[in-house]
């Protein structure tokens, strides 16, 4: 195998894979190529019980072998039943993990219409949810999202016990680092920086105040076997 340096994207794949560590026999539901590679890497290594989808109606193993049927309606039941951990995208994300993919600007007359809320409201109230942001910037990590699609910790708490009962925003992976909400007020915290990234760089690219320990660790290196899988199997 090649011995060239680990790339930023490879760190991101490992960081995404780590999101599913310890999840057991549930569906990993990644959106986008990097989270997809992460989910497959997790299944091939430390999370062998994970279920994967082909992005359409089939359950597959990490090599694409079909092991089940999962049309949209059954997928929604898996969401509501909580046997799923989704990693969604975010056009905007705030300090408490509120996410927007619907539109930018005023909802009644948006300056930029995006997808719509899709399944973000049902996802965030029912099954563990993480986010993947490929380009960490102040346009994405905003003070306040224009439309709350995915529900963050403050909004879930305000909405009451039914909203917060199964609410669980696990982590955010960006091209700069890994973040979680394990702080007293459930504000976003730097969990690790990808090697080569500084805390100042992340703070400059974030429009809200980020919690961070005095010594922030780096995102772990892939093992040689993980690196081989990423380079030879997953791409």
């Amino acid at each position: 195998m090649t011995t060239t340096a680990v790339t930023r994207t490879e760190y991101c794949v490992v960081a995404c894979a780590e999101a599913w560590r310890g999840d057991g026999e549930i569906l990993a539901s990644p959106m986008g190529p990097v989270p997809s590679a992460g989910a497959r890497l997790a299944r091939l290594t430390f999370a062998p019980d994970l279920l994967l989808t082909d992005g359409e109606a089939l359950l597959i193993d990490a090599y694409g072998e079909v092991e089940g049927w999962l049309p949209y309606r059954q997928h929604l039941a898996m969401v509501a039943g909580g046997r799923r951990h989704v990693m969604m995208g975010a056009s905007q994300l705030d300090r408490h993990g509120n996410q927007n993919i619907s539109c930018v600007g005023d909802w009644a007359r948006p300056t930029r219409q995006l997808l719509g809320v899709r399944g973000a409201p049902v996802n965030t109230l029912n099954n563990p949810t993480s986010y993947w942001v490929p380009r960490h910037s102040r346009r994405v990590f905003v003070e306040r999202v224009d439309m709350v699609c995915g529900v963050g910790y403050d909004r879930a708490a305000e909405a009451g016990p039914s909203a917060s009962r199964f609410h669980d925003i696990r982590r955010v992976v960006s091209d700069l680092g890994v973040f979680d909400f394990d702080t007293p007020d459930r504000g976003m915290r730097v969990r690790s920086l990808h090697p080569g990234v500084t805390l100042d760089e992340v703070r400059a690219a974030t429009a809200f105040e980020l919690a961070a320990a005095d010594e922030v660790p780096y995102t772990r290196d892939p093992t040689p076997e993980e690196l081989r899988l990423i380079r030879e199997v997953l791409t």
Binding site: L58, Y72, W107, R109, G160
Partner: protein, 273 residues
């Protein structure tokens, strides 16, 4: 009894102001032959309920939609639908924005003749803000949970496209996902099923197992034979999405003006693209 009709005959049963549900998902198995017939008709002022794709884009561009009920509009391989974007950004479309699960339960409530279905989605999100008609309901049992009461999405008509059907309206899907097409038909007072090929009833089970018989004839008003009737969206396994034509659609939509009028004229007036 045969329910066979042409696309124009099916659409001839629709009236302006109706609530019309459109099956498929994004740019997958959309009843495009029926949508094109709708565009050729004078029917307008519609409330459209759809997991949206180019069906929504075409109807919005032609000014036929008064209100859109949806969780998203996308062309799948092209994430943002240009006509939907333009309609929203110009304020020419009234939107009832729902979550994907809310749509499913709203259709389910309608199919079961219930006023609403309780679900755990929407609480804490801005769907409750931008959709002020939504109400919550408190569980009468045990822990008194507060849930969202999704109102029934009863439809005047449903338009769906399947792989096969017989003349009575038994509809069969051969692809991997039924989407919500049977639910759209059950939630509607009338349903028009277009299909790639109308076959004898006895032939249906030669292609696939009985669970592929998705739509029951009792829900079906009209059956339309429309080969390539989902094109340029996908209709697996008969054909995949026509990415070239979809790209041409998106480019013409983004360009607008003459480019769009030209595309729309060619795409809508030709019965078979």
């Amino acid at each position: 009894m045969s329910k066979i009709m042409t696309p124009d005959e099916a659409v001839g049963r629709l009236r302006s102001g109706m609530t019309v549900g459109i099956g498929g998902w994004g740019s997958r198995r959309k009843p495009m032959a029926l949508v094109r017939a709708l565009l050729r008709s004078g029917v307008t002022d519609l409330t459209v309920v759809s997991y949206g794709g180019p069906d929504v884009g075409l109807l919005a561009a032609a000014g036929r939609i008064r209100r859109l009920v949806t969780a998203f509009v996308t062309l799948d391989s092209i994430p943002l639908e240009p006509h939907f974007r333009a309609a929203r950004e110009s304020g020419s479309l009234e939107l009832t924005e729902l979550d994907e699960a809310m749509m499913m339960w709203g259709l389910t409530a309608a199919a079961h003749r219930l006023p609403f279905m309780p679900i755990r989605a929407g609480l804490g999100s801005d769907v409750m803000r931008v959709n002020p008609g939504l109400r919550t309901v408190t569980s009468p049992y045990e822990n008194r949970e507060e849930l969202v009461a999704v109102p029934a999405l009863r439809l005047d008509a449903a338009l769906v496209h399947l792989n096969r059907a017989d003349a009575r309206g038994n509809g069969q899907y051969l692809g991997p996902d039924p989407y919500f097409d049977d639910l759209f038909c059950e939630a509607a007072d009338t349903a028009y099923v277009s299909c790639e090929r109308i076959v004898d009833t006895a032939e249906l089970l030669k292609a696939a197992a009985p669970q592929s018989l998705l739509v029951k004839r009792q829900y079906v008003t009209g059956v339309v034979e429309a080969p390539h009737g989902a094109h340029f969206t996908s209709c697996a396994p008969d054909y995949d999405r026509d990415e070239d034509l979809q790209r041409a659609y998106a480019d013409a939509a983004a360009a607008g003006g003459e480019a769009w009028r030209d595309f729309a004229h060619r795409y809508v007036t030709q019965e078979q693209p």
